[in-house]
């Protein structure tokens, strides 16, 4: 993708444990540079970010395009994206009998580091409470409780590079009692211990890698998880290769004996500023869910680190361009000047604006490629800046130059898909994909299109008149079974259950 990042050689040695080397640091609670190496995978210079997947793909990027345009990153994959509840059965991917089932199933490049966690990031709160042995997942077909045994077995079967230990975090709960926090600490300790035992007793062929474990650090005060942390230090620290941190501000309190470990952030940032804050606290690997949410809204990032040197303006600059705006319709310019990504070197704003307004899927893909490239070069430059000792100064100019938040979302996201339906939206009775134009033509009644004949239709009788063409849907009100037409035919199974 965007040029610039020096890519070290892929190591040929079989993987044993993560090798993490801190290349530069100025003490605790300060930004640091490192090299994160998994045998056989592309080393990652840190701070860096992992691609955040949905059902095994970066949204809108088919795996070939991921390899071609974004494959230099590692990826974070959630087990809950692969577990189905109905029918009650073994998740299909568990039955895939190849050496690295998850990687192969999702067609991830061989050299891409693969991190598995139980939940997506950010996770959607589930109503079911956790128990001493299990957490609740949200699969595409509903809630499912998953025990620590199940999780450890999944890790053993799927063979990702890194497994994030299952953490007992009651997501979505505003206040958590002290008693509950105690439980969090107890359970997370037990679950991690179980994962470590499973991994350490795994029978593998000589030279065959097991998987590495990142221990979760709970988003509660250090005192309240001290029991867990003590045990972690006493008898598990040699078995873990990194930390998964749910609250970046707790890096302050991290025991010294854990400082050598790479830190993966599952603390959800809302803006580039927050990424900088996490980096300034010493985070190494970050997840950036706002990339895809900006892409879905048609927002193309437009920021660099440090910001361009321009005469001081009293107005702060926007962090992204809303590509829905008609002003881009004739602009034969890239999304960002100088950006070397595929979207910017091969296409232009006019086309991308057209694709969005025509609801063509390619539009979101191009913005997604660009947004990943912008964040990629953001990390490249902040590493340079840390190396040069100019990081703090650059952060200050960045904050002064850009607005504190990403722009408001005005455009429509692509047609809602599975995971978009999961959260609170379930409660609301609104249509997920509201109809746009209602087909009234000057009050003279509805324009009707009864199947796009002149093009061979679907063969199945019930599908004959179903139009699944955004272009056509946009042009005319379609009456023939309007519900079916409204791509409700692409039923998401959890809908059926209501």
């Amino acid at each position: 993708m965007s040029q610039g990042r020096p890519t070290p050689e892929v190591s040929q040695v079989p993987r044993e444990m993560v090798d993490f080397e801190v290349l530069k640091t100025t003490g605790a609670r300060a930004p640091r540079l490192g090299r994160f190496t998994l045998g056989g995978r592309k080393p990652i210079l840190t701070p860096a970010f992992l691609g955040n997947t949905s059902r095994g793909v970066i949204p809108h990027m088919s795996p070939d395009n991921f390899g071609r345009y974004a494959g230099s990153n590692g990826v974070y994959v959630a087990l809950e994206d692969f577990v189905e509840k109905h029918p009650e059965k073994t998740p299909p991917v568990f039955e895939y009998n190849v050496p690295e089932p998850l990687r192969r199933f999702a067609a991830l490049p061989q050299d891409t580091p693969l991190v598995l966690g139980a939940r997506r990031t950010p996770p959607i709160p589930t109503p079911a409470t956790h128990t001493n042995t299990a957490i609740s997942l949200l699969t595409s077909v509903g809630y499912k409780s998953v025990s620590s045994e199940y999780y450890a077995a999944a890790a053993r079967k799927l063979r990702p590079d890194v497994v994030v230990g299952m953490a007992d975090i009651p997501f979505g709960q505003a206040t958590i009692s002290i008693k509950r926090k105690d439980k969090m600490s107890d359970r997370t300790e037990a679950w991690l211990r179980h994962l470590v035992t499973t991994r350490n007793t795994m029978a593998v062929a000589p030279g065959e890698p097991r998987f590495d474990i990142f221990a979760p650090i709970l988003p509660i005060e250090r005192d309240l998880q001290s029991w867990y942390l003590e045990h972690l230090l006493d008898d598990m620290v040699d078995s873990i290769s990194g930390l998964a941190i749910y609250d970046a501000f707790l890096l302050d309190d991290l025991p010294d004996a854990l400082h050598h470990l790479p830190r993966l952030s599952l603390h959800v940032p809302a803006s580039p500023h927050e990424l900088l804050r996490q980096v300034s606290l010493g985070m190494d690997l970050l997840t950036v869910p706002f990339i895809s949410s900006a892409t879905d809204a048609g927002i193309a990032f437009d920021f660099t680190f440090p910001p361009p040197e321009t005469p001081k303006s009293s107005v702060r600059q926007t962090l992204g361009i809303d590509m829905w705006h008609a002003e881009h319709a004739r602009a034969v310019t890239p999304l960002s000047k100088g950006c070397q990504c595929y979207a910017c070197t091969k296409h232009h704003r006019a086309y991308i604006q057209h694709l969005l307004s025509a609801k063509e899927m390619l539009g979101w893909f191009l913005i997604q490629v660009h947004n990943h490239a912008v964040v990629e070069s953001f990390f490249t430059s902040l590493r340079t800046s840390i190396d040069a000792g100019t990081f703090d100064a650059h952060v200050a100019t960045f904050e002064a130059y850009y607005e504190p938040q990403l722009p408001e979302k005005t455009g429509q996201a692509p047609r809602a898909r599975g995971y978009h339906f999961r959260s609170e939206e379930h409660a609301k009775k609104e249509k997920k994909n509201p109809k746009r134009w209602n087909g009234e033509l000057g009050g003279k009644g509805k324009a009707v299109l009864e199947g796009a004949h002149g093009q061979q239709p679907e063969k199945k009788q019930e599908m004959m008149h179903v139009i699944d063409d955004e272009a056509l849907i946009d042009l005319v009100g379609i009456e023939h079974g309007a519900e079916a037409v409204h791509v409700e035919d692409l039923k998401i199974e959890d809908d059926v259950k209501g």
């Binding site: 949204p59 296409h347 134009w437 093009q455 035919d489």
Partner: protein
């Protein structure tokens, strides 16, 4: 005076039994093999695929829709950017169809007059008029390698013979206006469209009129609108019988694999259809053994490729530089991630293009009848299931599918 042409048709081989032909069509943006299937990128984009992904499936000629591009991005933008190739960064050939017009004609409020088609804008309800001159002007701005005349299309199944005749004759007059309006005949090829519904006399009359106008290529239009398949075959057979040998013949809107192979036997060279790419979004995979709906739970643990031996980006194993996508993974992503649709779209486009490549090889090696027999034997497990229309149509050109 012969009409200038921006193509050359190189006939390479003819089937010694059927009317099938193999050729190379040299177009402004490079040569394309005939027979050919052309995927439809209605709004200058093919269901989420990048131009490179489309190219990798072997595509060198795809469709855009004149009317859609006329609305979005609009003619002024196309002019400013320098045409649709630049607009969508597609270095290969484009054909612009006007079947949008057919869609417009289905709007109850559309009205066809000698001047053109009057209808209310689907965007804001304002009155609009689409004329042959306007259609050509748009296609000149688009810069398509092959452009289609504006025609007056009636659903083939319409019982109104007088209206059918009127539409046919009007299409001929509109072709004259299109030829008149065409600004760049030396770099864009205008194809006529034969009309006349299912009435073979009307079709013959129309064919004679159209051929006399000597356009670089000839389309047979108004079909695939739900007419009986044997009627469809009669029309194609009748028209190709009257067409000059050295010009490409395009049957509009056809894309089912069995229709393609039969139509080729009847002497047609070019086809387009939205079906293969549209159906991908429903989770349907086209294979030589029929269409599989990969959203069916039986595929959730099927770890084979979409089709064994397929050389598309998805099906090829990683050892051969492909993705090694399994049916189970398509099941996992279809209708849940847009990328799931991208994967099946690549496969389906590849299937269609590869089918035509195999057809072409068979014609060049003069074994097309044998190809047809094995094609149908793969698609249907029993001869009793062969569609009657296909058996009948092929018998008419000397191939008996039912004999051993």
């Amino acid at each position: 005076m012969p009409m200038p042409s921006a193509l050359s048709f190189e006939l390479l081989g003819k089937c010694s039994v059927t009317k099938a032909r193999a050729a190379t069509l040299h177009l402004p943006h490079g040569p394309v093999p005939l027979p050919i299937f052309m995927p439809v990128a209605t709004q200058a984009s093919l269901k989420g695929l990048t131009p490179e992904q489309l190219e990798k499936q072997g595509c060198r000629l795809c469709l855009n829709n004149t009317y859609h591009l006329g609305l979005k991005p609009g003619q002024a933008t196309l002019d400013a950017i320098g045409g649709a190739h630049r607009f969508q960064s597609w270095p290969h050939n484009l054909l612009t169809d006007g079947d949008s017009f057919q869609m417009v004609s289905l709007l109850k409020l559309a009205q066809v007059t000698e001047e053109g088609v009057r209808f209310l804008s689907p965007h804001d309800g304002s009155p609009m008029l689409l004329t042959p001159e306007h259609s050509i002007s748009l296609q000149n701005s688009i810069g398509s390698d092959i452009m289609m005349q504006l025609d007056d299309v009636i659903v083939t199944t319409s019982p109104d013979l007088a209206r059918m005749k009127e539409a046919m004759e009007r299409s001929v007059r509109w072709l004259d206006r299109c030829i008149q309006a065409h600004k760049y005949p030396e770099r864009q090829n205008l194809f006529c469209i034969i009309q006349g519904g299912l009435d073979l006399d009307l079709r013959r009359e129309c064919t004679a009129e159209m051929v006399a106008r000597d356009t670089p290529g000839i389309a047979i239009g108004g079909l695939s609108g739900g007419e009986a398949k044997d009627e469809y075959c009669k029309v194609v057979d009748t028209c190709t019988g009257l067409l000059p040998e050295k010009k490409p013949r395009y049957v509009m809107g056809v894309g089912y694999p069995e229709d393609l192979v039969v139509s080729v036997a009847l002497g047609a060279d070019m086809f387009d259809c939205v079906w293969p790419t549209r159906t991908a979004r429903f989770g349907n995979a086209i294979t030589s053994r029929g269409v599989l709906n990969l959203r069916n739970a039986v595929y959730s643990t099927d770890f084979g490729p979409i089709e064994e031996g397929c050389q598309c980006t998805c099906c090829r194993p990683p050892e051969d530089g492909g993705l090694g996508i399994t049916r189970a993974y398509v099941y996992h992503t279809t209708a849940k991630e847009t990328a799931g649709a991208h994967l099946l779209t690549m496969h389906n486009v590849h299937y269609q293009l590869n089918l035509m490549r195999l057809v072409r090889e068979a014609i060049l090696e003069d074994r097309y009848p044998a190809f047809l027999r094995s094609f149908f034997a793969k698609l249907y497990d029993d001869k009793s299931k062969y569609p009657e229309w296909a058996v009948g149509a092929l018998k008419g050109v000397g191939v008996d599918l039912l004999s051993d």
